[in-house]
């Protein structure tokens, strides 16, 4: 506000030098707390950052195990930002049309759930959230009635196929791109692939791997890993054969970069969901294999700008995709054509296929899960069941 000169010559006789310094001393003392404040606060605690997930498929899904039991994972509750988003596991026993809540207890599951197990026990992995950096596991052999605790002392990748199990072994895709394996149950984890190992392999270099998306076993027990590839025409599915990763995906005549967004196991084989091109002009296709070598591909499904919101598998190699814009597309199995279901009800988080071709829509509204059903021939969705989920809001924040 003012321009002042404090260096104006002074003709006043002051009372001695020591007293002349008094003002400066006082000024220094008064500035000290502020200056110290700046210095003292500069050594803050270091913060950690969580690496980005390996790929991009949403976690909501459903699957059917060898015994015909259907399992589905959906998110329910309030906003994720307030840690009030809870992931729930529900199951439908073979031959039944009633779903039951079987979310494994003991861990806040705000980070998400992933499940694996085609024949034998089902294993669920908890995606780490908030301050948790490793992944608890839970295994059930009785349809979710009871659970055995396990542990993967690493951070699971946030993709629906981050774990795979075949009764004798398990695979886990980690968020840093590594793959761990366990020979039995959830214990004794050991590295199968170091971060970047698949991208650095000969097959990976040919494919120009940009990120891993899934792990699975072939029916014969060969570990598979799925990836997104930058090189057009390359399908990023790799099999662990004789200690090396070898290209194992279907040939892609499309000539566009391909992302494998799902690679799921079924008793009879594996199902891959592939996305070609960008989302605007891209398309989806599926491929099935019984041995990891020969694949049967589906026709391409143009996305017309839609995005995949959820996907899953069903009996007999069935596959469904929930797309933005109220679209639901299904495939009944290898060799089948895409079939569009009636527009799913508002709030549909996932679909689930039945052996007879009926589809259930799992419709979420806060803590209410509604099961709507549509018959194989189409028609309208019909509400079959309503489940009130006892969410514990605030328990994870």
């Amino acid at each position: 506000m003012t321009v002042l000169s404090t260096t104006a010559p002074s003709t006043v006789v002051l009372a001695g030098r020591p007293r002349a310094r008094l003002g400066l001393i006082v000024a220094a003392l008064l500035l000290a707390p502020g200056l110290l404040a700046g210095c003292a606060a500069s050594g803050g605690h270091a913060t950690t950052t969580t690496p980005a997930p390996a790929a991009t498929a949403p976690l909501a899904t459903s699957m059917t195990t060898a015994d015909g039991q259907a399992w589905a994972i959906v998110a329910m509750g309030g906003p994720a930002a307030q840690e009030d988003l809870f992931w729930e596991l529900i199951t439908r026993p073979p031959g039944s049309d009633r779903w039951t809540l079987v979310t494994p207890p003991g861990v806040a599951d705000n980070g998400g759930l992933v499940a694996a197990g085609t024949s034998g026990p089902l294993t669920v992995g908890f995606e780490p959230s908030q301050d948790l950096t490793f992944s608890p596991l839970a295994t059930t052999g009785n349809g979710g009635k009871t659970w055995d605790a396990g542990l993967l002392n690493a951070h699971l990748a946030s993709v629906p196929d981050a774990i795979a199990a075949n009764g004798t072994g398990m695979l886990a895709l980690l968020d840093d791109g590594a793959i761990d394996q366990a020979s039995t149950g959830a214990g004794g984890w050991a590295p199968l692939a170091a971060p970047g190992a698949i991208a650095a392999s000969a097959a990976g270099r040919r494919c120009q791997v940009t990120g891993l998306a899934a792990v699975a076993y072939t029916p014969s027990g060969t570990p598979l890993a799925a990836a997104a590839c930058a090189r057009p025409g390359s399908t990023g599915i790799f099999a662990r054969v004789a200690g090396t990763w070898q290209a194992s995906g279907p040939a892609d005549p499309g000539g566009q970069p391909l992302r494998v967004i799902r690679l799921t196991q079924a008793p009879a084989g594996d199902t891959a969901l592939l996305q070609a091109g960008t989302s605007g002009a891209g398309s989806l296709s599926a491929a099935w294999t019984g041995n990891g070598a020969q694949w049967t591909a589906s026709p391409a499904l143009p996305l017309h700008g839609a995005k995949v919101q959820a996907s899953g598998t069903g009996p007999g190699g069935a596959l469904w995709v929930l797309l933005s814009g109220d679209r639901a597309e299904t495939l009944t199995g290898p060799g089948a054509a895409w079939r569009e279901l009636p527009a799913p009800p508002r709030g549909t988080a996932a679909l689930a296929a039945s052996p007879d071709g009926t589809y259930d829509a799992l419709v979420v509204s806060a803590a209410t899960l509604t099961i709507d059903q549509v018959a194989p021939g189409g028609g309208a969705w019909r509400t079959e069941q309503v489940i009130k989920v006892p969410l514990q809001y605030g328990s994870s924040s």
Partner: protein
């Protein structure tokens, strides 16, 4: 700006009580020092015969206005700093809003200061009170001489601290800078006044100081007029896209604050008027600022007199209609920029027009040299000291007393600033009062992460800080572990006499693999004197029951429910205290505060054993 807010409510009763207590204690200390000084001075009158003192020249009118005006403002600001919500509320309600629209580097600087405040809210809040009251009193009582000039420098120094860390550089680096809303920060005007008070007496002996002050003010007003008129800054619009313009928006915010009804109506009415006639209001403001600025630049007494009067009227209008008197609602820390502006202008005008004839004469020192013969034998220092004390004026004694008041605030604040960890008061505010307990701690036999058996009896002779942690907990347990880790560091050499023990608190995930994974995640494996114990489910159930810890899995993806407590067990195996260890907002301040609290509890247990 993360980290600078403790996360506690400004109205937290524990903080308010502690603040009142600190103010009371420091106030009593200040009063005692002042009384002692006065008694010493009174007694010294009898030690040596009073020396006739030379008559000091009258203080220049401009300087007197500055000194008294800003002295009163500092005292008022100090009193405002004593509002009960100040310790907990200043970072979130004053500092953060002031800095939020400033560039990142400003926010970093401000955040650093805010963090220190959040860590030591009681010390810093009390310090602000006494420093400001002390500076104000100092300015009021020290009329002339070095002590008076030093008061000005003290005002500059503390003003800069407040301007940088309290006002985020007065918002001068933020968009939307406007004189109407307080730019360039009221405390910067305090600094200018302090610098003027600190000028040598000779500087007030001519009209030059007044001319420079008014010319500088004129340039400032012109600059503010240009800023106010600059296109694209929004001040010409009362509303924009259906929303109030910058000025109308700010006025609307002001009306939401708690204040007298009459004032609220006046301000609201002007806000509506500005929203409807934004262009006209800004035009008046621009013209007024420009005309006043140009008039001040002339340096002609009659013109500047008119300009100062006009500026006073304009400032009064802005103070009431735009700045809402500066002290209402929220946590007002000063009456904003208009009163100091007016005082500066009046002082400048008086310095231009009323120069005392005697002002050019050499100043008479406050403490004249005492003739060696006056106090008896001149060779001994006690006699010289007695003479010096006896020759000191009452004004100087009062100034020394005021300086002592400033130091009562400065010293603890400086010491607190050196401590990077927060004061335990934050943790006490969250956890509440923990009454002393004296009961034997229930025995337990559990297993550590290496599979070794650990009993409570095996820890006899050490203080045990016992807690219950869920190995797969996603929120509180990792935080409590980190608090205990820092507790060990704070204990230093005493840490060897303290064992920090966690018992697994999850009926599903309680294996040694789980506890090991938790330790690895939290970096606890390498912490000496840390044990994460577990056992079979029946063993754990027994321990939970013995210690009254209810542990149960929640359905539907919820976290396992368990108590957040830290039980202090003395070396003899008796429970001394059970601290509620809920991390609360879990800010950096509260976490380090808990560590300091646990360390203090452990030391107390060691001391009482």
């Amino acid at each position: 700006m993360g980290g600078m807010n403790s996360g506690l409510s400004p109205s937290d009763p524990t903080l308010e009580t502690a603040f009142r207590s600190a103010l009371t204690h420091q106030g009593l200390l200040a009063a005692a020092i002042i009384v002692a000084l006065l008694l010493l001075w009174g007694a010294s009158r009898n030690w040596v015969p009073a020396e006739p003192r030379a008559t000091a020249p009258a203080e220049p009118a401009g300087r007197r206005v500055l000194r008294i005006g800003f002295g009163l403002l500092w005292v008022l600001d100090g009193i405002l700093q004593a509002q009960p919500q100040m310790p907990g509320g200043l970072p979130s309600q004053v500092i953060q809003p002031a800095a939020q629209s400033s560039p990142g580097w400003v926010q970093d600087i401000v955040s650093a200061g805010g963090t220190v405040w959040s860590n030591h809210p009681i010390q810093l809040a009390a310090a602000s009170v006494w420093i400001q009251v002390g500076i104000g009193l100092w300015m009021l009582v020290a009329v002339r001489g070095e002590w008076s000039r030093a008061a000005g420098l003290a005002g500059v120094a503390w003003g800069l601290v407040v301007w940088i860390w309290g006002e985020a550089f007065g918002g001068v680096f933020a968009p939307g800078l406007s004189w109407l809303t307080g730019a360039p920060g009221s405390v910067l005007l305090y600094c200018v006044a302090g610098a003027l008070i600190a000028l040598p007496a000779a500087a007030w002996g001519s009209r030059r100081t007044g001319r420079l002050l008014l010319a500088g003010s004129g340039l400032f007003f012109l600059g503010m007029a240009v800023l106010q008129a600059w296109p694209g800054r929004g001040f010409w619009q009362g509303t924009s896209h259906g929303q109030p313009g910058p000025l109308a928006g700010m006025i609307a915010d002001m009306t939401q604050l708690s204040q007298p009804r009459v004032l609220e109506r006046i301000v609201a009415a002007f806000g509506s008027f500005d929203a409807a006639h934004g262009f006209a209001v800004n035009l008046v403001a621009v013209i007024a600022l420009a005309v006043i600025g140009a008039a001040l630049l002339t340096g002609r007494p009659r013109v500047t007199q008119a300009a100062v009067i006009a500026a006073g009227v304009l400032c009064l209008a802005v103070w009431v209609l735009v700045q809402d008197l500066g002290v209402f609602g929220g946590l007002g820390t000063d009456p904003n920029s208009m009163p100091p502006t007016v005082i500066l202008l009046v002082a400048g005008y008086l310095a231009l027009t009323r120069v005392p004839a005697a002002a050019l004469a050499p100043a008479v020192p406050d403490t004249p040299a005492v003739p060696e013969a006056a106090g008896g034998p001149a060779s001994t220092w006690p006699s010289r000291l007695r003479s010096a004390v006896a020759a000191t004026s009452i004004g100087t004694v009062a100034a020394i007393g005021s300086f002592a008041v400033v130091m009562i605030g400065t010293a603890p604040a400086a010491l607190a600033s050196l401590d990077g960890n927060a004061d335990p008061i934050l943790a006490e505010a969250i956890s509440g009062y923990a009454p002393p307990i004296d009961t034997p701690a229930p025995a337990f036999t559990l297993t550590d992460t290496s599979g070794r058996t650990v009993t409570l009896a095996s820890l006899r002779g050490k203080v045990v800080l016992l807690t219950f942690l869920d190995p797969v907990c996603t929120t509180d347990c990792p935080i409590i572990a980190q608090e205990l880790k820092l507790t060990g560091e704070l204990l230093g050499g005493q840490a060897r006499q303290v064992e920090m023990v966690a018992v697994a608190a999850n009926p599903t995930y309680y294996s040694t693999g789980d506890t090991r994974a938790f330790d690895q995640q939290e970096g606890m494996a390498s912490v000496p004197d840390w044990l994460f114990l577990t056992g079979s489910l029946p063993q754990l159930n027994h321990v939970w029951q013995q210690y009254g810890a209810q542990v149960e899995d929640l359905p539907a993806g919820g976290m396992t429910d368990h108590p957040n407590i830290v039980i202090v067990i003395d070396p003899a195996g008796n429970i001394m205290q059970e601290v509620n260890a809920d991390p609360g907002p879990a800010t950096t301040s509260t976490q380090t505060s808990y560590s300091a609290l646990f360390a203090a509890d452990a030391r107390q247990a060691l001391g009482e054993s």
